[in-house]
Symmetry: C2
Subunit: 315 residues, 2 copies
């Protein structure tokens, strides 16, 4: 099989041995594989793949067709359409997916949409609901709301009956984000629309100090992105006086069982909304896998509305 391959910081599209499934694994012919910030960091050498994932093939999410199954698989069969978060190796013709992490792809979804769903919606769901306990009627701020995780977070917040403010740096994207169910505003203006019970912080150090001043008492902040810097100055007295909680997370570093728990929650709580077309996967662009370098470059430029997804190269 061929795969996007990191060679000395460059992206190439090279031949690799076909993957062999373990007892609980599926072999999936990839038809869509979303790009995430972790891929760019891995390319730069900052974020090595976890044990058990190919060290040189990036890609943390995929959708595709099952083409082979391990001995102990029970839920999916050859020919099924599946999507999943994986530890790495998704940006390839063939990828291994532990069956416990796989979700069925709703029938109306295109391959690029399905390939851009798992990481963004799992991350947003885990941050808003599992970490922050978001619920009905609460006030939410999503910073960096136009991207993949941000647009997922806005939709999930709106769907759960929260009141959502979307902080969007690029003025030309604000109207589109507002249609997802949020009041969409410039980052400074957005802070003035608080106080907020829950914040999905996708920007990092450049944003969080201001966010602290816009929190309601007992507010919760989930830090999921640090594109705006990682070293933040935090006023601990404000954290104490407003009784705040700041959490951070990544999906990638979790164990197989932890990932299965997240996938189960997303399958139970989010996939039904996707099937009912109450949430959707926003696509900024697709690129063929043999042009992954261009796709990563576009990803790194910012100003995106939704996901950038790699698809198989044109024959």
């Amino acid at each position: 099989m061929r795969a996007v391959t990191i060679v000395d910081g460059d992206l190439r599209y090279l031949e690799h041995p076909d993957p062999v499934p373990g007892d609980t694994e599926l072999v999936v012919a990839v038809h869509g594989a979303g790009i995430n910030n972790a891929d760019l960091m891995q390319r730069q050498g900052f974020y090595p793949a976890p044990a058990g994932s190919p060290p040189d093939i990036p890609g943390m999410e995929l959708a595709g067709e099952v083409v082979a199954t391990g001995r102990d698989t029970t839920r999916f069969s050859i020919g099924d359409r599946v999507m999943a978060v994986v530890g790495g190796g998704a940006q390839a013709e063939l990828a291994l997916v532990d069956e416990s992490a796989a979700m069925a792809v709703p029938s109306h979804l295109s391959w690029p949409e399905a390939g851009g769903f798992p990481e963004a919606f799992s991350t947003a769901y885990d941050a808003l609901f599992t970490q922050c306990g978001l619920s009905l009627g609460e006030r939410v701020l999503v910073t960096g709301a136009a991207g993949g995780v941000g647009s997922a977070g806005v939709q999930l917040a709106a769907a759960t009956g929260a009141r959502c403010v979307a902080s969007v740096r690029h003025a030309q994207l604000r109207d589109a984000v507002a249609t997802l169910g949020a009041v969409s505003a410039d980052p400074d203006e957005a802070l003035g629309l608080g106080p907020f019970d829950v914040v999905l912080e996708l920007v990092g150090a450049a944003s969080i100090s201001g966010v602290l001043g816009a929190m309601a008492v007992t507010g919760r902040i989930a830090v999921i992105g640090v594109g705006g810097g990682a070293r933040a100055e935090i006023d601990l007295l404000a954290v104490m006086q407003r009784r705040l909680r700041i959490s951070g997370s990544t999906l990638r570093a979790r164990t197989r069982v932890e990932k299965a728990v997240v996938a189960g929650a997303v399958e139970h709580h989010v996939v039904p909304l996707l099937e009912a077309r109450r949430v959707r996967v926003l696509l900024e662009a697709t690129f063929p896998m043999d042009r992954a370098g261009e796709a990563y470059e576009r990803f790194g430029q910012g100003g995106k509305l939704g996901k950038i997804v790699l698809v198989p190269p044109r024959p």
Copy 2:
């Protein structure tokens, strides 16, 4: 009645009108009232008393005898020994306590011990258990472990079957803290004894950056004190990669109902340990109320083992 009174940043012992109980309040003749950092901050003008508390009489915890009861009180009667966290006004001959915040004083406890129990143990219980979900077998670090909240936290952590490291700056206090059920160490050495699942952070900015590097995956940090500075530099990437949670809290700013919930939890989970002498209130010193200035000065010096408690002036 007379009360410790803040006059232009000075502490005096002055006459005030006797307090009149509301429907759900008790009037308590105070026999012990612990000093807390909030009192020193209030004296300096940084931490005004919440609405409903006397603006010029400090004191957030007390123990004493019920001498009058409001119309709708049901749990306590005149002559009962009670202790409570209050919004302010505890350092006085008479203080008002909402009945929902009052706890019965175990019979073996002295008045100074009872007067130093509520704030320290409620704060430590709330931080370790309600905020951080501490449980059996986990590894805990308490920074600033020799003080009132710290010594309470060490004892509660040990009592719940956690393995506790106590970070103690003053070498001469380490042996005494170790007898509470912890490995007691210099702050730098203590960090080397991690990784920690839960940290009770009582020092603040000077401590928390180092603590972040000593956390286990899915660790929780509760920030309860900022004597070592409030503006902390936090590495958000470390927070994400280790999936940490940082929370802060104060008891004082909570509503009457929230305080009742904390008091109920402490009554249910901690007072039985106090009755069984499995935890104890450490007393550094007592001072008569008309010498509150000296007591605050001693509190501010640090190097304390446990609480400093004001008692009624000598007749």
